[in-house]
């Protein structure tokens, strides 16, 4: 495939969803089937195009393939901005992932959202979302990345708030946008720091500038941390993770799209793209934030009962992994995990969507509007009723838990190897692998808890059980596709070793060296990972086994009672169950005080400053004019003027006859005036 074709394809991939969006938003309602075929047609076309690009990448087999194109967006002389695309192997892979997940979401939504009042709107927003994400993926500069970044925020706002009649959905949408904006502030400051030092927004020029030593030291660290802050917001890293679980208020397919391929992936993608500019200090921050988030979110996921909430925290935790890997330098492993995670996490969400869909219909039939269709405590034993969903979710769960033969094993292993290698070089940072392995164990535990509670054991609501049915084809099709893609083979081709991540991915997608002088080279990092590979594999297998075993004893065999243990570890349980009270504390210590402060400011502005100070001028003016009025009237007028007047009255008894009403008198005085003036003038 030639370079031109690549560019044309990329443009098409970028703009087709936008066209679909525009068609849907303006005339969607008037089209047959509310125009969902427009949206689906558009994404399927992008999928085909992405596959074409991807195959050409595989055939071409150029690890350092890169193609750029740009145009002048604005130009004021010295200040000019070029926007453009960068297409390399990472981009092509990411485009495929986005197109694939987006297509699956579109297909899945046909039935899931059937009969929704804003069906065409929904498809429109999906198109916008896909467009924005593709924009991020294709960007070759910070400005267009930032722009699409915010557009992703908006589309997530619109989709999370799809059912805006529910206050919780409206709240969640707003929260998602605002929390993301917090990150975006950091992102923007980072951009400004870089631009004010290097004068460019284009990645390659930035990297060149940094390698040339034009920017470095603490400024670069700050810039890096700022940019990472943006990633933290989008990828929902601690402490900006709070929006993501709430975002479950959106329709489930949206969650799948958002958590697998678009929104949250954007943060990781940003780190991957910008990896060369992070300084060691910035990377350390990234590593710790990521590692901590991985563990922290996992501990919350253990105790959640809402099936989507579990998956949400699991996403946060997995994103933590990816960020951790960026921090340790093994960012290609992080990207690898991004790709594999996209498949199995989307599959898990579709699975949960399928379950919720079934529950919803069953509840609807029973006219039960009280029970929560998402609560796992109302499920159980769905395995026989929903075999396809069950198997798909099981495969994905095995993948996410890091069981060999599945994709998650490969990528997770690479990340953990990266942390191990990092820790071996920097023994002071031993916590990073601890975070990683700890999270791995807990992940295995809670994911199997989900499987066991939902699909195994006795049905918890017997009355519903008979009405639970497997979902229609439109919903099972994505499940089948994505669960198949969670098998190792797709990532190791053309090799078949399930224990080695050696394959097309590792061959075609290669790390570039850090631009910051002093950072370890890509080769060096790859070496370290290779070195730690087997240790990591053994350890991760062990922790995964422990997690699965514990889960099995608690929730399958019920040898140990979960409730009893919860009672024993009450404080910890409470912390975890309540998500460490983050929302409450943010609310109490940030939002409410700030709203109060705003009210105070408004009060000061309007009721004090304006009313007393500004109007004070008016009032003082009034008082002064009152006094001057008094002085004028009582003092000047009554005493002096009237004094003159009074004295004049006596004399003026005569003078008043001046006003005789006789024109001739007036004329006389006018003439007198003339004479006087002439006399005065002549002197």
């Amino acid at each position: 495939m030639t370079g031109n074709m690549i560019m044309d394809y990329s443009l098409l991939i970028l703009f087709l969803p936008l066209v679909a969006f525009l068609i849907q938003i303006f005339i969607g309602k008037r089209l047959p089937r509310q125009g969902d075929w427009v949206a689906i047609g558009a994404v399927v076309t992008t999928l085909i195009l992405s596959i074409a690009m991807f195959t050409s990448m595989l055939i071409g087999h150029e690890p350092h393939f890169a193609q750029e194109a740009s145009f002048t967006w604005l130009d004021m002389g010295a200040f000019h901005i070029e926007l453009g695309f960068l297409v390399d192997n990472i981009t092509i892979t990411m485009l495929l992932v986005v197109a694939l997940i987006s297509t699956m979401t579109h297909i899945f939504s046909i039935k899931y959202l059937e009969g929704d009042i804003r069906y065409s709107r929904y498809y429109a927003y999906l198109g916008l979302f896909t467009f924005s994400m593709n924009g991020i993926v294709l960007a070759n500069n910070l400005i267009s990345m930032y722009m699409f970044w915010e557009l992703v925020g908006v589309s997530s706002y619109l989709l999370i708030g799809h059912w805006f009649e529910k206050d919780s959905a409206a709240d969640a949408a707003k929260k998602a946008f605002l929390v993301n904006r917090v990150g975006d502030i950091g992102f923007f400051i980072g951009i400004m720091l870089i631009f004010s030092t290097l004068g460019t927004f284009v990645f390659s020029e930035i990297f060149e500038g940094i390698s040339a030593g034009k920017m470095g030291g603490s400024i670069l660290t700050f810039a890096g941390v700022g940019l990472f802050l943006g990633a933290m917001g989008k990828s929902s890293q601690f402490p900006l993770h709070i929006w993501l679980p709430d975002a479950m208020e959106g329709p489930t397919p949206v969650s799948a799209l958002m958590h697998a391929a678009t929104m949250v992936a954007a943060g990781v993608y940003l780190c991957v793209r910008l990896f060369p500019l992070f300084t060691p200090d910035a990377l350390l921050v990234i590593a710790y934030v990521g590692g901590f988030t991985a563990l922290f979110a996992a501990t919350i996921a253990i105790t959640q009962n809402d099936i989507k909430k579990v998956l949400a925290y699991s996403t946060v935790s997995q994103l933590g992994y990816m960020i951790l890997s960026v921090g340790t330098g093994a960012y290609i492993a992080g990207f690898f995990h991004l790709v594999t995670h996209a498949m199995f996490k989307a599959c898990l969400f579709y699975g949960s969507g399928s379950v919720i869909h079934a529950m919803h219909h069953a509840l609807h039939k029973k006219h039960d509007h009280e029970a929560d269709p998402q609560d796992m405590r109302n499920m159980g034993g769905f395995k026989d009723k929903m075999p396809i969903t069950y198997w798909a979710m099981l495969i994905s769960t095995l993948a996410i838990s890091g069981v060999p033969l599945f994709s998650g094993f490969l990528s997770k292993d690479a990340i953990l190897a990266g942390t191990l290698s990092f820790a071996s070089h920097h023994p002071g940072h031993f916590l990073l692998p601890v975070f990683g392995f700890g999270a791995a164990a807990i992940t295995a535990f809670y994911m199997f808890r989900l499987i066991f509670m939902t699909f195994h054991g006795k049905p918890q609501m017997e009355e519903l059980y008979d009405d639970i049915h497997e979902s229609p084809k439109e919903m099972t099709f994505p499940l089948i596709v994505l669960s198949s893609l969670s098998i190792f083979i797709f990532y190791t081709l053309p090799y078949f070793n399930p224990f080695s991540d050696h394959g097309w991915f590792s061959e075609l997608i290669v790390a570039s060296d850090a631009a910051v002088p002093g950072n370890p080279s890509a080769h060096h990092i790859a070496e370290g990972i290779h070195h730690a590979h087997y240790t990591a594999m053994a350890l991760s297998l062990f922790v995964a086994a422990v997690g699965i075993f514990l889960s099995w004893t608690f929730y399958f065999k019920k040898k140990l009672s979960a409730d009893e243990w919860a009672g024993k570890l009450k404080p910890m349980y409470a912390l975890s169950f309540n998500k460490y009270f983050f929302d409450e504390n943010y609310n109490r210590f940030i939002y409410q005080p700030f709203l109060k402060l705003s009210a105070l400011v408004a009060h000061i502005d309007w009721d004090l400053y304006d009313k007393y100070f500004i109007n004070g001028f008016g009032r003082v003016g009034k008082i002064i004019s009152f006094f001057t009025g008094r002085m004028d009237y009582d003092g000047l007028d009554q005493t002096i003027v009237d004094g003159i007047g009074r004295s004049a009255r006596q004399a003026g008894g005569v003078l008043k006859f001046l006003q005789t009403g006789r024109l001739q008198t007036y004329m006389l005085f006018a003439l007198l005036g003339v004479v006087v003036i002439v006399l005065i003038q002549s002197f």
Partner: protein, 162 residues
Amino acid sequence: MADLAFWMIVLLTLVSAAIVVLNRNLVYSAIALLFTFFGVAGLYVFLWADFLAGVQVIIYVGGILVLIIFGIMLTNRITSVNISHTSVQKSMGGLVVLGILSVLGIMIFNTPWLQTEFVEPVQTTATIGTLLMMDYLLPFEVASLLLLAALMGAAMLSRRNE
């Protein structure tokens, strides 16, 4: 001789003008005004304005003065013996007028008037006629319009409104 005639005419003009403004009897005033007009006409003659002198006599004496006398007749009962009237603020008025006069006089005698050599006119009437029809045609027409308006206005005003 000419000098004597000149001063006689001046005297006639001024004295009769004084009578106009000072005499208590309106009819006397009107008759004095007649002499003033004649005097002024005479002065015009001295100033080589023969045409104007004629006009002065015809219009002022023949027109305006007759009008004034009619005015007196119409507004006073002719039968009443004393068609007289009083004056007011004579002293004050006299003072001011004297002031004005002195101011004017000072001005007249202190101003170096621009004078050019006297050229004896060939024929004043013809020149005036040419000027009126050529250079001053528009004012001439306006003046006729003014006269028409005055005519109509006077008729309008003096009509009894029933």
